[in-house]
């Protein structure tokens, strides 16, 4: 069985010391170990950003795509090989600015992948511009007079789109995050794991301390029913998305893959692709 070491690489990290992404990476590796996955059976598709560099630091099959497009690739990876544990990962800009359209459609398509967002409410790699999840009034290079746009509510959007697994973690709360990621991977369908993953270099407002004091933890609330969609939506609306834990889970999720007519359990890559004469001739017949 694979260990943490098996999921690490020898690359020296390019992240700043203290960056939230370290914690997300560690939790992800831990979850994979605890689920007894093997590195060769994990495919991780990452976007562009500081967060997108995660593929350099995890020993798995890694695809580092262009900015904003991790989700279309990840869904296709899963369809091509259903035996893989497929993860998509990236930042708030990657996922909710340029990648927003793909996010919305992945949510409703429900291919069995897990999407781990490292939300630091800023653009890290391009050195500190306002991101779609930045708070109103936030001052950055691109909004020196304060952000005047409303921030994206990615978890409410997930619920409104019919996503069956909506969770939020905090990079520094490893225990909870590992649990969340494990359940997300096991969930049959598209699972959103948002994480608050502080950028210690450029975001001096949304810090570890900020999140620790602001986040409401539904995992610790015995009265909270994570199967109640309305309740989940209300919780997120009321707390301005500053909620952590597994916020919503649909007990009746059916994977996209299971709904494709004629689709085989082994997906695509493990099939023989040569067409037999009978099939070929049946197809040709309509052109005669």
């Amino acid at each position: 069985m694979a260990t943490m070491a098996d999921f690490r690489t020898s690359e020296k990290s390019w992240w700043c010391p203290g960056c939230g992404d370290f914690g997300v990476l560690a939790a992800l590796q831990k979850a994979l170990v605890e689920l007894a996955t093997e590195p060769e059976n994990v495919a991780l598709v990452a976007g562009i950003g500081c967060s997108g560099k995660i593929g350099n630091y995890i020993n798995s099959y890694n695809l580092h795509v262009v900015h904003g497009r991790s989700l279309p690739a990840a869904q296709a990876v899963k369809l091509a090989n259903r035996e893989l544990t497929v993860l998509a990962a990236g930042g708030d800009g990657d996922g909710f600015a340029i990648g927003m359209g793909h996010y919305m459609h992945a949510l409703r398509r429900n291919v069995d992948i897990t999407y781990v967002v490292m939300d630091n409410q800023i653009y890290g790699l391009t050195k500190g511009q306002t991101s779609p999840t930045s708070d109103g009034g936030f001052h950055t290079k691109s909004t020196p007079n304060g952000n005047i746009e409303k921030s994206v509510n990615q978890m409410q959007l997930a619920i409104a789109s019919g996503c069956g697994f909506v969770a939020n973690g905090l990079s520094s709360n490893q225990k909870q995050l590992v649990q969340i990621i494990k359940q997300a991977i096991q969930f049959p369908g598209f699972a959103l794991v948002n994480t608050y993953s502080p950028c210690v270099t450029f975001n001096k407002v949304n810090t570890y301390d900020f999140y620790k004091s602001e986040l409401v933890n539904v995992d610790e609330d015995p009265t909270y029913d994570r199967h109640d969609k309305f309740a989940a939506m209300k919780m997120l609306m009321e707390h301005n998305e500053l909620v952590t834990g597994i916020i919503y889970e649909d007990p009746n999720s059916t994977r996209y893959e299971d709904l494709v007519k004629g689709f085989k359990p082994e997906g695509i890559v493990n099939q023989k692709w040569e067409v037999d004469d009978e099939t070929w001739n049946k197809v040709l017949a309509q052109y005669k």
Binding site: D6, T9, S10, E11, W14, E38, P39, E40, N41, A43, V45, K53, G55, N56, N59, S60, Y61, N62, L63, H64, V65, V66, R69, L71, P72, A73, A74, Q75, A76, V77, L79, A80, N81, E83, L84, G101, H102, M104, H105, R109, V260, K261, G262, F263, K264, G267, I268, V269, Q271, W273, E274, V275, D277, T279, W280, K282, V283, L284, Y287, K288
Partner: protein, 609 residues
């Protein structure tokens, strides 16, 4: 008895003409005729003029006809628009109800038939089409039985009564013509009865994908590409594939890269706007050395352009459209039939050269039916699936992790090294669009950069494919260079050019648009005059040829960019002018014939110093 006739029908869009034509073409094909069918249509669903033309012949035909023998018109607009294209003495059949008037100066017989009245009597508005089919069969001397048989199998599930009504309508149409115009016949020689296929290029591309092992299609609807995915979504349940309609073209191409990375053969199909949107990700495929196949059914550009009109103006975008230097392979089919094995081959090329392979189809190939010879569609004549350099799982299993180098310097003769696929133990690597080293990890080392850039670009200089195909006379005086839809007309023009000029002519079909096979072209053209025929405004392929070193002084050009198909006559006329030394650059279209033009290559005009 005629070896060939051309039948045309005009009326209102969305009124069911398309299915009438489908019946006509299928019956003609089954009777053993070669069919080349094309149409005029607009980017709207119902209303507005549309016309369909079918050229049927006892010999292979692959270009628009020079004229129409039998024109069926359901409204006056169709007469106004189509009548000037008929052959002298042609028959124009019109519905009595429209009070048809023939424009002046047209040498044709205008016959009217009470189509509306007869339809009313038959009690079902759909029957008008069957009356038309019956009447057409009578004029062309095609046995009405073929039509009836087709109706029986096609609409059998709608009940005997319905089929009987169809049969009756067809017969009535047929009889009406026989009774009223017993002398007027355009009788075509009997078809050879041989079983051939009739399909549009988009269906051929789908077949090629099926044969080529493609089982994942990610695409977004667009004219004129949609039928590729629509065909595959019907075929795939038979073979366990999946065709996903994505949210856009950006997603489509990246999904293909995801599937390709995982080891599936993936394809997307689009038209110009989609190609523009895919530019960034094509670079990603090139950087990560991931196979991916893209079909571009070119249409009138730029922007939305003329979505239902023919054009071949995406060549520059296909070959060079993205930022940075990156390898691509661009193929172009010369006919619908050729597209089947070519599409299958595209997957082999992608797997062997680890870069995007694009197929430059065009609207006329994509959407217009052509006869396909059974040999062209034989499963056994399809290229065998060849996965290219792949790591050996057993070998890797025996190694430790971090030994396998995805971007190893140990490359094959094409400059490509083996890839591993997810699931293979010890094959893990990073595939990234950022510059990277042997294991795929990001590096900005200058020396590595030079190696990796050379590695990527070098591979496409040795693409092993049939880059060009030559037709016609050896040692020609003029070689017509074409690709896509123009190839058919070019081939038919050879005899005409030779007849008109007494000089020798040949056609060089370009199957590999990029990397430009300059040396191969030079070898075929030799001392001849080379005339590039293309459907765009700036002579994109000529530009590519010159950029690749071809001598501009010896390059002649015929362009058409009005949305209509290049004809045999236009190529012949341009060739005659070239051979007569009348000029170097010609254009045609827009209601005018072939005429001299300035060099279409865009450069800044010389200025005062």
């Amino acid at each position: 008895m005629l070896k060939e006739v051309c039948w045309q029908i005009g009326g209102e869009q969305g009124g069911g003409l398309d299915s009438t034509v489908e019946v006509f073409n299928t019956v003609a094909s089954r009777a053993g005729y070669y069919v080349y069918a094309y149409k005029t249509f607009a980017s709207r669903i119902k209303g507005g003029h549309t016309d369909f033309t079918t050229r049927l012949s006892t010999e292979r035909v692959q270009a628009p006809a020079a004229g129409v023998n039998l024109l069926v018109t359901l409204d006056q607009e169709s007469i106004d628009l189509c009548a000037r294209n008929v052959y002298p003495g042609a028959i124009i059949l019109a519905d009595e109800a429209i009070n048809a008037k023939l424009p002046e100066g047209i040498d044709a017989k205008l016959l009217t038939m009470p189509l509306n009245k007869l339809t009313l009597a038959l009690g079902n508005p759909l029957m008008k089409n069957n009356l038309v089919l019956g009447a057409s069969a009578a004029f062309l001397g095609m046995p009405i039985d073929g039509f009836k048989t087709y109706a029986t199998t096609r609409w059998g599930n709608k009940g005997e009564e319905f089929v009987a009504l169809i049969h009756k309508s067809m017969q009535e149409g047929y009889d009406y013509v026989v009774a009223n115009w017993p002398e007027l016949r355009l009788e075509i020689e009997e078809g050879d009865g041989k079983e051939r296929l009739l399909m549009i290029g988009n269906e051929a591309a789908a077949l090629g994908a099926l044969a080529g092992g493609c089982r994942t299609v990610f695409s977004y609807p667009i004219t004129p590409a949609s039928e590729i995915a629509e065909s595959l979504v019907k075929i795939f349940p038979k073979v366990g594939g999946v065709a996903v309609q994505m949210e856009d073209e950006l997603a489509s191409i990246v999904a293909c890269i995801g599937a390709g990375f995982t080891g599936a053969r993936a394809m997307t199909a689009t038209a110009g706007p989609g190609i523009s949107l895919m530019q960034e990700a094509m670079g990603l495929a090139a950087m990560t050395e991931t196979p991916v196949v893209i079909v571009d059914t070119q249409r009138g550009g730029p922007s939305t352009g003329m979505p239902t009109k023919q054009e071949q103006s995406d060549l520059m975008a296909l070959a060079y459209g993205g930022h940075g230097d990156s390898p691509r392979i661009v193929l172009a089919p010369g006919s619908v039939g050729e597209l089947i094995p070519m599409t299958a081959e595209a997957f082999n090329l992608a797997d062997n050269y680890h870069c995007p392979v694009l197929i430059a189809s065009d609207l006329a190939i994509a959407l217009f039916q052509q006869t396909v010879e059974p040999e062209e569609a034989k499963l056994s004549s399809m290229p065998q699936i060849n996965r290219g350099p792949l790591a050996n799982p057993e070998e890797l299993a025996g190694l430790a992790r971090d030994v396998f180098q995805r971007y190893s310097k140990q490359v094959n003769e094409n400059g490509v090294s083996a890839r591993s696929l997810p699931g293979i133990k010890n094959g893990q690597f990073l595939a990234t669009g950022a510059e990277h080293g042997a294991f795929g990890k990001v590096t900005e080392s200058a020396a590595n950069r030079v190696y990796m850039m050379d590695r990527r670009m070098r591979r496409i200089q040795n693409v092993n494919t049939e880059a060009v195909r030559y037709f016609g006379s050896e040692n020609a005086d003029i070689v017509v260079i074409g690709f896509g839809t123009t190839v058919g007309a070019a081939k038919e023009s050879i005899a005409e050019i030779e007849a008109a000029t007494g000089k020798k002519a040949g056609v060089l079909q370009i199957r590999l648009i990029y990397p430009v096979p300059v040396a191969q072209i030079q070898a075929y053209v030799k001392g001849a005059k080379a005339m590039v025929v293309e459907s765009n405004a700036t002579g994109q392929f000529s530009f590519m040829l010159k950029g690749a070193g071809y001598n501009p002084a010896n390059l002649y050009s015929l362009l058409k960019y009005d949305g209509t198909l290049i004809t045999v006559e236009e190529i012949r006329n341009a060739a005659m002018a070239v051979l007569n030394g009348e000029g170097q650059y010609f254009v045609s279209g827009g209601g005018q014939g072939v005429r001299k033009a300035a060099d279409p290559t865009i450069t800044l005009a010389a200025q005062e110093a």
